[in-house]
Amino acid sequence: MSRLSEQLSRGQFVVTAEIAPPKGTNLAPALAAVAKFEGITAVNVTDNQGANMRLSALALAAQLQKAGTETILQLTCRDRNRMALQSDLLGASAFGIENLLLLSGDHSKFGDHPDSRPVFDLDSVQLLDMTAGLMMGVDMVGKPLNGVPKFFPGAAVNPAAEPFELMFQKVAKKVDSGARFFQTQSIFDRNALERFMSAMKPLRVPVIAGVLLIRNARMARFLNENIPGVQVPDALIERFDRTADPLAEGLAIARETVVLARELCQGVHLMTLGHEGMIPAILE
């Protein structure tokens, strides 16, 4: 049983963070950044994040597991067909990886290989179904596995997405397909999170709220224009415009979100993008 699943089942408030594999083979900076994480339950390892080609998430997650860090392996449907997804999941299990975040994936258009052919042979619901099958000892065509993987599968959600009912029917499907926890997109809006959490209540699946450390107004505007699913409200951007110390303002906003998550959710997922040293301050 992974520490993440254990802590969530005990009702403990969990903290996850994330690390992106390097563009290249030099793992040292990523391993050093993770070593600086304090008070983290598990570390997400992103999978060609934003459709930018990087070292395999599975390879970095395996290294981290070996070094004693619990990981949440992110796996997207963008770059692999159903055979490759199954192979990678079995490989992940062989390396002791249990926690998964199973995603559709950002479209290739957003990244550094916009001419590539996006795969999307499966969607995130089908990927969850397939994972549930592997955990039962069968592959997608019903063939038995020699050695059955143990996983703790999670899924992603954007609680502020509109239309809400349309977004939420997919959340319900993900739960039916075996999602045991959710990690959310960055949260900026109390009302949207409250509405989402009250809809989640009957489903009884823990939600880990996404907290993004925004460094300045320029970054906020960049996120709004370029990162799917991230929408920083104008009121927050104005806070950055007014302040003399944008990083301190970003820290304050992140802390407010953590407080909100402690009230409504079962954990926080911290996206600090190079400012890992600020994690203790965000959690204070």
Partner: protein
């Protein structure tokens, strides 16, 4: 119809560099309708080729260039003009080009890029609504195809990139899943939302496609 458009002229000029005498072929079906390979475009092409000091030995607009036997027949009617050319230049979709290339010994230069199976919104405005996947789900999705009109071809609802009901890939495009959802709501039925849609059977879209009406497969 198949939507096609003229290749960039510099690319064509390069492809034609080694030829001085050309026979031109257009198509009276899709390429005529979307103004890429009808009489008018063949005429314009001829004018352009003259500026490049090429000889045009003759031309024909075939009823349906994708009809292999009909293309053979029409080319036979222009046998001498075809024979005196060094290459045949074709303004038709990729299917049309291959009807021609399988019927003549000459080098064949395709002048168009084939883009998609398109619906006509109004004159000159084409939209892809069907991607010929061989495994149609339209009866459950209120007649809106997510395989084609969702940028990721998702089958169980919108991705996390949906922003105010629009697509993450192009903010001008409405999310296919929002449109499906709203139309189903209007029809007061759940349709595709009533079940988890299993992975698609891509074996129905075998490449290359083959189908014989009398055999039913």
């Amino acid at each position: 119809m198949i939507i096609s458009k003229l290749k960039p002229l510099d690319e064509l000029q390069q492809a034609l560099a080694e030829f001085d005498k050309l026979f031109l072929v257009g198509c009276a079906a899709c390429a005529t309708a979307c103004k890429s390979g009808g009489e008018e475009e063949i005429f314009k092409l001829q004018e352009w080729l003259v500026t490049l000091e090429k000889d045009v030995t003759g031309s024909v607009v075939i009823d349906e260039a994708c009809h292999i036997m009909r293309a053979a027949r029409d080319l036979r009617h222009h046998k001498n003009a075809v024979q005196s050319a060094e290459a045949v230049m074709v303004l038709a979709c990729g299917s049309g080009v291959q009807s021609i290339s399988s019927n003549v010994d000459k080098r064949v230069v395709g002048g168009l890029n084939s883009m998609f199976l398109g619906n006509v919104r109004r004159f000159g405005h084409y939209e892809e609504m069907c991607s010929l996947c061989g495994d149609c789900i339209l009866n459950e999705t209120a007649g809106i195809c997510p395989v084609t009109t969702c940028a990721k071809g998702l089958l169980n609802g919108p991705c996390g990139g949906m922003k105010d009901g629009h697509c993450e890939v192009d903010a001008d495009i409405e999310c296919a899943w929002r449109l499906i959802y709203e139309r189903l709501q209007g029809q007061q039925r759940h349709g595709v939302f009533a079940r988890r849609v299993p992975p698609k059977n891509w074996s129905r879209r075998r490449q290359p496609g083959r189908y014989q009406l009398n055999k039913g497969s």
